[in-house]
Every structure is written in structure tokens, then in C-alpha cells.
Symmetry: C2
Subunit: 366 residues, 2 copies
Amino acid sequence: MAEFSATDCAHMAHALHLAERGVYTAHPNPMVGCVLVRDGDVVGEGWHKLAGAAHAEINALNAAGDKASGATVYVTLEPCSHHGKTPPCVDALLKAGVAEVVVGLEDPNPKVNGRGLELLAGAGIQTRVGLMRSDVEKLLRGFVSRVTRNQPFVRLKMASSLDGCIAMSTGESQWITGAQARSDVQRLRARSGAIMTGIGTVLADDPSLTVRDSSLDTAGKQPMRVVLDKDLRMPLSAEMLALPGKTIVYCSDDKNQAALVDVGAEVVRVDSDNGMVDAKAVLGDLGDRKVNDVLVEAGPTLAGSLIADELVDELVIYQSPHIMGSETIGMFRTPCWTELADRRALDITDVRRVGTDTRITARLEG
Amino acid sequence: MAEFSATDCAHMAHALHLAERGVYTAHPNPMVGCVLVRDGDVVGEGWHKLAGAAHAEINALNAAGDKASGATVYVTLEPCSHHGKTPPCVDALLKAGVAEVVVGLEDPNPKVNGRGLELLAGAGIQTRVGLMRSDVEKLLRGFVSRVTRNQPFVRLKMASSLDGCIAMSTGESQWITGAQARSDVQRLRARSGAIMTGIGTVLADDPSLTVRDSSLDTAGKQPMRVVLDKDLRMPLSAEMLALPGKTIVYCSDDKNQAALVDVGAEVVRVDSDNGMVDAKAVLGDLGDRKVNDVLVEAGPTLAGSLIADELVDELVIYQSPHIMGSETIGMFRTPCWTELADRRALDITDVRRVGTDTRITARLEG
């Protein structure tokens, strides 16, 4: 087990902050931050902005120039050893003559998986691994989820009243939560590779599911829109089909797909499960498409089904300070849960005010 | 407008803390605390424990003895000028020769209402009023509610899951919240003059509605149990009828009251309103009976009706970190609320963890 000093921690925390700058742009690549320190001074820092652009280590080495020689490298994720869109970082670190490499998390990607660290150690570079590992894992949980289980990290967002209602029985629901909560959702969208909804929500609300907040630098990227639509009822006039970015419609019966494809949608056939598109298969396909994080913005049917099927990793509830009463629609449709023992426990990880609403973030306990 | 120093504030805060010691015992009297200060030293303190026992001022004067002469009196509530169960405090203060009286809140009781302050001023005592008034008002809101509008302060307690469910559709509901939340409810009961429920809850759960936590010093008092039971369906075998303390059953049809009276209940007839016992009339009667605070522990029918009729002053929700789903019963039955505009806004005044649950306290906005 490697030992770390308070100074080590401070530099790794700095590298983590740098990594986070890529939150809206780095995906499907992991967010990575890197700090080079020589004789107690930070001589270079870098982070990874976009797939295809330089990795964090390269940006830090470039910033340090000659001062990289003999430096200690703090990098949140194990340096890559393989040729991807850019040459391996391990080679560049060796060439620059760094003295030591301190890593937060071993790269969970099977293509790397300790190989980068081995190469460094083999070349006589001192390495230490595991500094602030859990913070790095938390930051990269979408990436880790995809490369380890070929399934994106699934975040389900709901907006409800304090008594758990998402709409009136008539469907009236604009707006349950306030402007600041809606603007917070823009940030959740921007950090996601795909936004998933059900055909019911498309037919009822015709949402755009795009990032519209121009203050968020997404490098022009829009998350994919993903619609679960067993019988392919997706209207050709759906708003999202006319907007920048890609829309994928997952169905179990694709015989009417031609017209949808004509208007720019991709139609993918997957099996159905319990009368709905098999969401697990959809998530697998999104994993193949290198989606790290999926944000689900759906009605109670899809939300309840994903929860009951244990496909939700994190729940984000925007709870407005209102009572809506009984002539309403609840958050989750779960026809199979008939006893109190069927309820699902949550591990609440964060609660905070967002404007006039309360945002509750929770992991679903196994 | 009187002026107050930081030292004044510190002494009044001390008096407020003393007042709070009577939270489980002073009602129907107000909680009052009193501090006597001479030459910068606290020479006496007192609080009011029980109706019939000495008032806070008298306890403080007794503690100070000769040192009361020339002292400044900090008292949360205006001293009484009338003969109640004990002689007037104003007379005692004058007799002790205090120099000044600093008061938090004028007594809202029409029997006092400034008269105590007038008598003190008339006798040449300096008086200042309004120090930490809003804190005193908050502490005494039950008392203030009763003496100013002849209606108790109504606190509605609910236990729900994060998605707003209070039971499964089958009625199964033990336990939605954890042991610490239930123990917190014991404290809410102990500070209330009456606990109100509906006949539906009695028939379904047969609750005792008593204070059972022996660590709470209630001086042996139990809050009244109040059941709203239009057609007098109250079972003679109901648990609460066999327990210490008084049970009042409010009905609109009292022709079968004799048997209930035989087993110790009091039966009161009030008009019905919208197919239910008129809750406003019940609260008026409880005001006449000197109940300052009512805690409602009811099902969605009575809870929804009280909310819709704007009879609830404060809502206390114990929210458990669970999803219960759709085969459940919601918090409030409100058949009249059909549009989003009908929803009721809440002013959330406190949110905190109680064990594994979250307790949300809110005022209902008008």
C-alpha cells in the first residue's frame, strides 16, 4: 500500500479539479487532470477536453517544458499505454524524464488496466497508486460503468411536489419545479452522453431534450436523444427530430421505420420485455456506442420500470415545496410492488436547495 | 421604539431557554422564563412549570431574595396583572423593588394586554418591550393562537416515503419511518394539548395516541385524544379508551353515545360539513377547552380535508429514504383540487435528518 503525504493530497486534489473541467466535453473519454511538481513548485498542469485532443498528461508536459525533467506527476487516472486517437502518454512521460508518477485510479479500461503503470515501473520510474481513488471513481463513474460492465451509468431525474406528484391527473405539469431547478437539469443533460425518455412522454409533452444553456461550454456537442418506443409510434413531427444532434428510437416492431429514418432518426430493433422495449438491451447498445452517462427524463411508467428492474444507479429528485394532493399522477408506476417489503431503499448522498426547490440525490441500494 | 444592547439580548436569550423548559408541562399556560440581573450579575432565574404553580417571575424573585431590589428583570412575556390561580406578578415585582422590566412579548391574552406594563410604568418602573419578540411569538404560537383566535395551533404530522406514499393499497404501513422518527413524534405529542385523528385511522390502526416515552417529563399529563367520527362508529373496545387521559369523540349524530360515555369517552355533537364533522367547529371547542396546540395524526382523508380547508398551521413530514411506488396510498385526499393552480405552497422552515429519515417542517402559505 503506497503512502501519501498531505502535499501529495493537495496536488491530487488540484488534478481532480482540473479533470472536472472536462465534465461537459471529455465524454466518451474519461475526465483526467494532471499536475507536474518539481522542487515543491507546480511546473505544469493539464486536463483533457475532447476526444481526439491532447490528453491531460501531454498538456501538462507541454506546459512544463524543460521543467518536466525530474518532476513528480500527479494524474487522476493511470496514463495510457496504447495508441488510440493520440500516442500513448506513457511514452511521452518517459521521454520527458519525469521522476515519479502518482496515480489516483488504475485505468479500468481493459486496454490499459495496469499496463501503463507496469511500463513506467519497468523503465525505473517510481509509481504510487490509489491517492484519492474514491474521489476519482466518483468523478468517473460513468466511464467506469461503461468500460467495466458495458452499460452506462444511469441517472434518473424526476420533478415532483413534496407529496410525490409529478402531474395532475389531467396531465397538467408545467411547471412543477422552478427556473433554477430547470437550469440545473441543463447541467445534468450537458454531462450526459444520452438523454432517454419513453414514447409516452414524447406523445404527451413533445420534449426537445437538448442542452440550450449557452453558458455551458459543451464544445458544440448535444447528447443523443433516446426514445423507448416498442410499437414505433414516434411522430415524424416530433420536435427533437428537427434539432441538432442524433435521435435513436428503440423499438421491438420496426416495420414502419422507413419514414422515421427519412426524417433523420436512427431506428434500432431490440426485444421486448414485459410489454416494453427491453431497457437492459438498450443500455447495452448505448454502452457499445460509448455512452458513459445516461440521463433518464421520463414519466412514471418508464421510471418505475427502470427502478423495478434495478437499472437505475442514481436518482435525482427536484422536490418543489407544494402539496398537489390526490387528483394527480405519482412518480413511479410499479404494478409488481404490492407489499411494503417490495419498496426500494435509497442511500441519500446529497440534499440541497436549488432555487425554491430541494434537490435530493440518492443511490439505489442493492 | 425601545433600544436594546447585546447584553440585553444575551439575558433575554437566557430567559427564552428557561421558558422552553416548560414545553411539556406549562400548557395551557404559556411557557415563560425570567432572569434578574443586578450590577451585571444574574441574581435570579425562574420558569413556569405547571398551571397552578408559581409563575416564572415569582420563581426568579424567590431565587434572588434581597438582591431583587434594584435589579433589571428580563421576562419573555409581559407580567400578569390579574388574579388567576396565583396572585399577579406585577404586585410581586413592585414589592421586590425591581428597577426595570424588559419584556419580549406583550401578553396577547385580553385579560392582560398591556395592563401589566402600564401598572409597572405607573409605579415608576422603567419598561422596555419587544426584545426578541419574534422568538417569543414562535415559542408561544400555540398560546397566541388560542387567546387571539380561540383556535389551537394545528400541527399536522405525516410519515411518508420519498415518493409521497403513506401505506400500501392494502393498508400495510408499519413502519414507514424509523425508530428515531417515531420517538421524535413522542416529543410532538408531549408538547400538544390534544392529539386529533379520524375514525378511519381508529378503525384501521386502533392507535393509542399517548406519550409513552418516560424520559419526557410531562408531569404525568397526557394530551387529550380527539376523534372526528361523524356517525359515531367509535368501537367501545378502542385501545385509547382504556388508557390514562381523556378521549373526546366529536360526531354529528350522537344517538348512540350512551355506551361510549359509559366506557369513559366524552361525546360532543357538532355540525357536519361536506360529509365530515366540521373540523373548524371542533377546533373552536378545543380552544374553549384551553388547548394551545393540536397535533393531527390522521390518514389522507382528514389530512387532505384540513389542508384544503386551510386549518393546518404547520406540517411536519417524516420522509423515509424509500420508493414505495404506485400500489400505494398518497398523503392527502383532496378531491376538489383538479388543476395545478389548486396546489398549496409551503414555506419550509426546517429540514433535518432524524435517524435515517428526513424531517421537513413547513408553514402553509395563505
